[in-house]
């Protein structure tokens, strides 16, 4: 069974249809890149998979291990193993990062019928992962993302990904706002999480990110559909020829 099956998905925001019948299948262990021009519906797809309010699914299905994802609340999806790394992670003043991480992890474990993580185990794990991501310990005492730089916010997303151990990671424009060094640290963190049991969907406008996170498959989106699929070579082709050819195709 595929990990994720998106079948002929049609999505509206207010009165405007953004996705016009999108189909995508992702199996365990695969890394899929979704590329496309601004406004092609890439972020909409990531939001709909994660369950963000404000989108109306008018047709089609999203199955996660055969279960209807669209019937689940966002927190249930997270507990099942769906993780969205936000393009713009929000700042939450007054909620200490460490408290947030523990509360979220235990909420997911509780929903799966697992026991709470013991505090020493949790702290040990946070320390290990944050060290590998070059996240200073004092950052974890601050409010979630409060006063974090763009790079720090993205690394905080990767930290959560490592802690929650999701089976599907969706990285929404992870490279936006990052310089090369920050991008490399975040990408190294993501690569460390690649495993046979975990799939990733890497959404990006630019080919650059895919030099660091090398995909198994590349899909080109235009005007709310996947218009072409291929392997990593497709990304290089796009870099050379641009998206214009697909705007016509769609």
């Amino acid at each position: 069974m595929a990990l994720l099956e998106v079948k002929d998905l049609k999505v509206r925001v207010e009165e405007r249809e953004i996705l016009h019948g999108l189909t995508l299948t992702v199996n365990e262990g695969e890394v899929h890149a979704i590329m496309g021009p601004n406004g092609s519906g890439k972020s909409t797809l990531s939001h709909v998979i994660a369950g963000k309010p404000g989108y109306e699914v008018t047709d089609g299905q999203i199955l996660f291990r055969g279960e209807d994802l669209l019937e689940m609340d966002p927190d249930e999806r997270a507990a099942k193993g769906v993780f969205l790394a936000f393009q713009y992670p929000v700042e939450i003043p007054g909620v200490a990062t460490m408290n947030f991480l523990r509360t979220a992890l235990n909420a997911q474990r509780k929903a799966r019928g697992e026991g709470e993580y013991s505090t020493p185990d949790f702290l040990k794990k946070v320390r290990e992962v944050s060290k590998s991501l070059n996240i200073p310990q004092d950052m974890l005492k601050r409010g979630v993302n409060v006063g974090f730089s763009g790079g720090e916010k993205k690394r905080n997303e990767v930290l959560q990904m490592a802690l929650f151990e999701p089976s599907l990671c969706i990285l929404d424009e992870m490279d936006s706002g990052l310089d090369i060094d920050a991008l490399r640290i975040a990408a190294d963190g993501v690569n460390a999480l690649r495993s046979p049991g975990r799939a990733m969907i890497v959404i990006t406008h630019y080919q650059r990110l895919l030099n660091y996170i090398v995909p198994d498959f590349v899909h080109v989106m235009s005007k709310g559909r996947v218009v072409k699929s291929g392997d990593k070579e497709l990304a290089l082709e796009l870099e050379a020829s641009g998206y214009a050819q697909f705007e016509d195709a769609a």
């Binding site: 969205l84 992670p89 947030f100 959560q160």
Partner: protein, 434 residues
């Protein structure tokens, strides 16, 4: 026309009440004369209503209607229930003074220790000698009614230089349903003294009761005082509390109030900075649900130069509840170099929730820095979605954001044990919500 009718009706009810209560009211004939005068003043005014500016948003005539008869002196069964409530609500390590249905309960209190450390006496003991404690310059009807009917209270005199490490907790417990308790207390803090006072209002299996409390606080020069009020009454109770604070020079005074219960509640605080160089921090949290009405009305009066006042107030309002914040800062003509700031924020958890914010600055000096700000809004959807996408169910995500919101006021409490105690009460409120 309606007013006259209402006033006669209610005046009559209280008149009967006063006559029936008179035998229980402590004090010499002189004191009783002061009470009678206060009562007559109340009778002329009646319960405050919306056409009295200070009570515009809290119309007691409409919200409460009538004053209930005095609660009976608690019997053994009531004291047993109160003892259980004391256990449940005591602050770790605090010395306790307990009032049950408006009557001081010596057997539940740390009388000996506090008589030595804090000059503790009961209100009746003080009134035997002097009626002064019943007199105020206020023209407020509920305060007059309190003077007329106060049955008991605690009187503390903290000696100059005394450093009290353990907080003193005054616990008001209601065990009698459909009855009222009138209490009046005084705390006099000597020069250079350090003390923490906690006041807790709770019910022991009682509902629909009324509390009318007054506290008179005076703080000597160079003292350091933390004063925390926790109004955690039964959901159908009424609690109207009046507080008068006079602050000397170079004082640190940190006040915090949290309201987590009562159908109708009002804390009205009148705080005067009467000595230079003092720092006043006034903070409050209202957590309201269902049809609860919670009013915090504060007057901070800068009577002298060079004082700093800060007010941080947070209201969380669910269902059809109604939160009121009225904050007035007065800067007298001589009070140059005053630095007074006030910030109030309301979080509306439902479309029908209501918040009224009324800041007022009355500035008569020309070299001051004063300001106020007020906001009202809902929980941020983008923050809620982020938390849910990380696995937190809706109510838990809301609870985390609400805790962060009120945390800005609660973190002003310096003492770790007390802060945790207050956070615990807020958490229980949030648990009852989900």
């Amino acid at each position: 026309m309606n007013v006259a009718v209402a006033k006669t009706g209610k005046g009559r009810a209280v008149s009967d009440l006063f006559a029936s209560a008179e035998g229980r009211l402590p004090g010499s004939p002189d004191v009783i004369a002061v009470r009678r005068e206060a009562f007559e003043s109340y009778e002329r005014l009646g319960l405050p209503h919306r056409r009295i500016e200070e009570w515009k948003y809290t119309d007691l005539r409409a919200l409460v209607g009538e004053v209930l008869p005095l609660a009976a002196t608690p019997d053994a069964a009531a004291l047993k229930r109160a003892a259980d409530a004391v256990k449940a609500h005591a602050v770790d390590g605090a010395s306790k003074l307990v009032l049950v249905d408006g009557v001081f309960a010596a057997e539940l209190s740390d009388v000996k220790a506090l008589a030595a450390e804090a000059g503790f006496k009961t209100l009746p003991e003080v009134l035997d000698k002097d009626a002064g404690l019943l007199k105020t310059t206020s023209t407020d009807a509920v305060i007059a009614l309190n003077a007329a009917l106060a049955t008991d209270g605690v009187v503390l005199s903290i000696a100059d230089g005394a450093q009290l490490s353990a907080p003193i907790q005054i616990i008001h417990i209601a065990t009698a349903a459909s009855a009222s308790a009138f209490t009046r207390s005084q705390v006099a803090v000597g020069k250079g003294a350090r003390v923490t006072i906690v006041e807790t209002f709770v019910a022991a299996e009682a509902g629909a009761y009324q509390v009318n409390d007054a506290v008179i606080v005076s703080v000597g020069d160079n003292a350091d005082v933390a004063h925390i009020r926790l109004m955690d009454d039964a959901p159908d109770a009424v609690n109207v509390t009046s507080q008068f604070v006079t602050i000397g020079a170079n004082v640190k005074f940190n006040f915090f109030n949290m309201t987590t219960g009562a159908a109708v509640s009002r804390l009205q605080g009148f705080i005067m900075l009467a000595g230079e160089g003092s720092e006043l921090s006034v903070n409050g949290v209202n957590l309201l649900k269902k049809t609860e009405h919670g009013d915090t009305t504060l007057v901070v009066d800068h009577a002298v130069p060079n004082c700093v006042s800060r007010e941080t107030f947070r209201a969380v309002i669910d269902d059809r509840a109604h939160s009121v914040f009225q904050g007035r800062i007065i800067v007298r003509p001589d009070a140059q170099k005053t630095d007074g700031k006030m910030m109030t924020r309301a979080l509306l958890l439902s479309d029908e929730a209501e918040a009224d914010n009324k800041p007022e600055l009355e500035i008569f000096a020309d070299d001051v820095s004063c300001g106020h700000g007020a906001t009202a809004g809902a929980l941020d959807d983008s923050l809620l979605f982020y938390l849910k996408a990380r696995g937190l169910p809706e109510k838990q995500a809301q609870a985390l954001l609400i805790q962060a919101f009120v945390g800005e006021a609660i973190e002003q409490i310096a003492d770790d044990t007390l802060r945790e105690h207050v956070i615990g009460i807020a958490e229980r409120w949030l648990e009852r919500r989900s």
